[in-house]
């Protein structure tokens, strides 16, 4: 055998580097002001995507624009304000159909053959109905109320309300005969939406839990189980039961005040969840009760639920297992037939129906689902509330909505359209520093939010998370009181489903009919 020949045979031919079109056109430009830069290299340390580098030979900083995700971490941390992240000015020929977004997506898929992945919520500029709804205020004929001087109640009770109350006279007084509850008392009608430990860091969970406690509201564990350190916040906790049933056991079910069956989510209706193995660290593994590094897959359906009857089966299995002490929420994505589905959910015995709209956020969803599946929450909410009223079952369950609530006025409008309370997810994350760069699924969140990398989570401590989230909701709550007072209402109960307090600007007749709202001027 000729050794040389043999060697030649086994040596692999030098692989030709494949051209990657998607790397040619970065989304962002890292601009460094060299007059200000002191070459302290903080930007290199802070950037988890390695967009900043150091050229040893030239002793200078370098940038790889193609790696920049636009999180602005370097810009925020630069001690001399030398960095600006801007939209990359490189432009394609203007074309209203072939916008850069579509061109770049085609490049990405041509390069990889993969499914486009995104985070946050729907990024398509569909009509935002919140922005076409305005609120009423009192003038002259009935006076506004000043919440700083007069009592203003935001307290909300979640749970089925009885069809009627029976009272009997007893010793000259009236005694309530109807059994009420269990109900959940919220001091503000704003709860924190399901975001799993795994998708977000433990510190954010700790912050949410504490904020919920101090604010008198609830946070939601999401489907990733409940970390041992959070059991103490049980009376402010909703535990979630999704199809993967991660970390779900008797203690978990009994830990909170409610159990939410997750059927769907607004960011990705009709598909399941999936925590990539990279994010399943030691602590996540313990909480989810799955091996380290294993994909955590929640299939699209619960395979024990193929019908409303099956849903009833699970609702009552959970109630029975927790001896009827917990409320059962059922969360669905807002889809075309949401009203009929919601009716089925109420009849299946759910105490609270949760509707998550088209703009609902996520840490990871196929882009096509995030952008094009589901319907806006404003329309779904109005339609569901109306349908449940028509059927005479609106009192049998509370209605919670989420997906695109951005400010306190959105909350007020949602309640006027018929919601009992809202869930917020994205605003809570923005409150702790999220810049909506939408790369949560990489596990590299430079702000320490959507990561469980032990080094990165140090960037956001639980105390700061708590303070920021608490402040946000505290501010919103006060704004809601002001808005109520301006309308001459002194309790949120008087606003619930009170669509007369809303008027629309610039909507067509179909939209007005669905929303059940008059046009401004009417």
């Amino acid at each position: 055998m000729n050794p040389q020949k043999e060697k030649a045979k086994t040596s692999t031919p030098r692989k030709k580097k494949k051209i990657q079109f998607s790397k040619f056109y970065p989304d962002f430009l890292i601009e460094r002001d060299w007059d200000r830069c002191i070459k302290c290299k903080i930007c290199i340390r802070e950037c988890t995507y390695e967009a900043h580098g150091w050229d040893q030979k030239r002793e200078t900083l370098t940038e790889d624009h193609s790696k920049c995700v636009g999180c602005h971490r370097c810009e925020a941390m630069c001690p001399t304000g030398a960095i600006t992240i801007r939209k990359h000015p490189s432009a394609f020929r203007e074309h209203d159909t072939w916008k850069p977004w579509f061109i770049k997506n085609v490049y990405k898929q041509a390069d990889t053959g993969g499914v486009l992945l995104a985070a946050t919520g729907c990024a398509v500029p569909f009509r935002n109905y919140w922005d076409h709804l305005v609120l009423d205020a009192c003038q002259v004929t009935n006076p506004p109320i000043d919440p700083l001087r007069e009592p203003m109640e935001l307290r909300t009770y979640l749970g089925p309300k009885p069809d009627k109350l029976e009272v009997v006279p007893e010793d000259g007084r009236f005694q309530l005969q109807t059994r009420i509850g269990p109900w959940i008392k919220l001091e503000v009608p704003i709860m924190f939406a399901a975001m799993s430990y795994g998708a977000i860091s433990l510190h954010v969970h700790q912050g949410l839990a504490r904020a919920a406690k101090e604010l008198g509201t609830l946070y939601n564990t999401g489907e990733g189980g409940l970390h041992a350190s959070l059991y103490e916040y049980g009376s402010n906790t909703i535990v979630q039961c999704a199809s993967g049933r991660f970390g779900l056991h008797v203690d978990y079910l009994n830990a909170g005040v409610a159990i939410e069956i997750k059927i769907g989510q607004g960011a990705k209706p009709g598909i399941g969840g999936h925590l990539p193995g990279e994010k399943v660290t030691e602590e996540i593994s313990k909480t989810r009760m799955i091996p380290v590094g294993s994909d955590a897959i929640s299939p699209a359906p619960h395979h024990d639920i193929y019908s409303i009857e099956d849903l009833r089966g699970l609702i009552y299995a959970l109630k029975e297992a927790t001896e009827y002490k917990k409320l059962v929420f059922v969360k669905i994505a807002a889809v075309h037939n949401a009203p009929a589905i919601a009716s089925g959910i109420v009849r299946a015995g759910a105490d609270v129906v949760v509707l998550d709209g088209l703009r609902g956020g996520t840490g990871a969803a196929p882009t096509m689902f995030r952008d094009y599946v589901g319907i806006p929450i404003e329309l779904a909410l109005a339609a569901v509330d109306e349908r449940l009223r028509q059927e005479g079952i609106r009192n049998q369950a509370s209605l919670v909505v989420s997906g695109g609530i951005r400010c306190s006025a959105d909350v007020v409008k949602a309640i006027a359209l018929g919601a009992d309370a809202v869930y917020i997810g994205t605003p809570a994350l923005i409150a702790v520093g999220c810049t909506m760069c939408g790369r949560c699924f990489t596990g590299k969140c430079p702000w320490g939010i959507a990561t469980n990398n032990p080094e990165l989570i140090k960037r956001l401590d639980p105390e700061t998370a708590f303070e920021k989230i608490y402040n946000l909701v505290h501010g919103w709550a006060h704004e809601i009181q002001e808005l109520l007072g301006a309308m001459g209402l002194n309790s949120i109960e008087s606003l619930r489903g009170n669509r007369d307090k809303l008027r629309a600007v610039g909507l067509n007749e179909v939209e007005l009919r669905i929303l059940g709202v008059k046009h401004a001027g009417e």
Partner: protein, 247 residues
């Protein structure tokens, strides 16, 4: 002395209340008579007790339970052992669909056939390894999305000699755990991305350990059960979606 509850005409809520009360009083052995479709028997019960059930329990027998040892002297409906954490369910007859959905620990022994979607999304964690042994045949989607644990399918004690040992889409989406099948299974019944392997000595030890207990519980002959070869079905990857995305 066993504590007896007559389930005749009892709603499941009342039946479970009596059961919980008895367990609360420290009863260690309960006998439920005339069970007839009551759902959620022993759901969420966290205790070391023996429960003998005469009749046919309904949906979600022992759902979420941690600890009880349940013996059903008859068949069960769907959802037995749904998301159970620990304990044991022995079914002397047949079981319906979705047995052991997402179960994380404990054992389910079925003497005869089971329905569709059995052992879906079972998962193992640390020392918790759930086990389902089926004496008869299984419907479609056995072990779908399975992430851990052990399913053993014997196909010996079936009411349906004409059927294949397992339905189609066996182990679809499986990304952990193992399914053992006595005498093999036609490849046409399998989901994608799975491999059928011969069993080795370690497998034989696992099989012997579980089947010994199974045969003792159900009065089957271990030698007869072990007389045939078993095959092992495992997923090719525990990261089925690792390369799915572009970003």
């Amino acid at each position: 002395m066993a504590f007896e509850i007559d389930a005749k005409d009892l709603h499941y809520r009342e039946l479970n209340k009596l059961l919980r009360q008895a367990i609360g009083k420290g009863e260690k052995h309960l006998v439920l008579k005339n069970v007839n479709g009551q759902r959620y028997v022993a759901a969420g019960v966290s205790a070391e007790v023996d429960i003998d059930i005469y009749g046919v329990p309904g949906l979600d027998l022992g759902a979420f339970m941690r600890g009880p040892r349940i013996r059903v002297h008859g068949n069960t409906q769907d959802g037995a052992g749904n998301t159970m954490d620990d304990g044991k369910i022995i079914i002397e007859g047949m079981a319906g669909d979705v047995v052991g959905y997402a179960m994380r620990g404990g054992k389910i022994f079925v003497a005869s056939d089971v329905g569709y979607r059995v052992g879906i999304h079972m998962k193992a964690y640390m020392d918790k390894v759930p086990v389902i042994v089926i004496g008869g045949k299984a419907g479609d989607f056995l072990g779908e999305y399975m992430a851990g644990g052990v399913i053993i399918l014997l196909g010996m004690f079936s009411r349906y000699p004409e059927r294949p040992i397992a339905g189609i889409f066996l182990g679809t989406g499986m990304h952990g755990g193992v399914i053992y099948i006595r005498g093999g299974v036609p490849e046409s019944q399998l989901g994608a991305a799975l491999q059928i392997e011969e069993t080795d000595e370690e497998d034989q030890n696992i099989l012997r350990k579980h089947l010994q207990e199974y045969c003792a519980d159900l009065g089957y002959n271990l030698d007869e059960v072990m007389a045939e070869k078993f095959v092992k079905i495992r997923p090719q990857t525990h990261r089925p979606y690792g390369k799915l995305y572009a970003y």
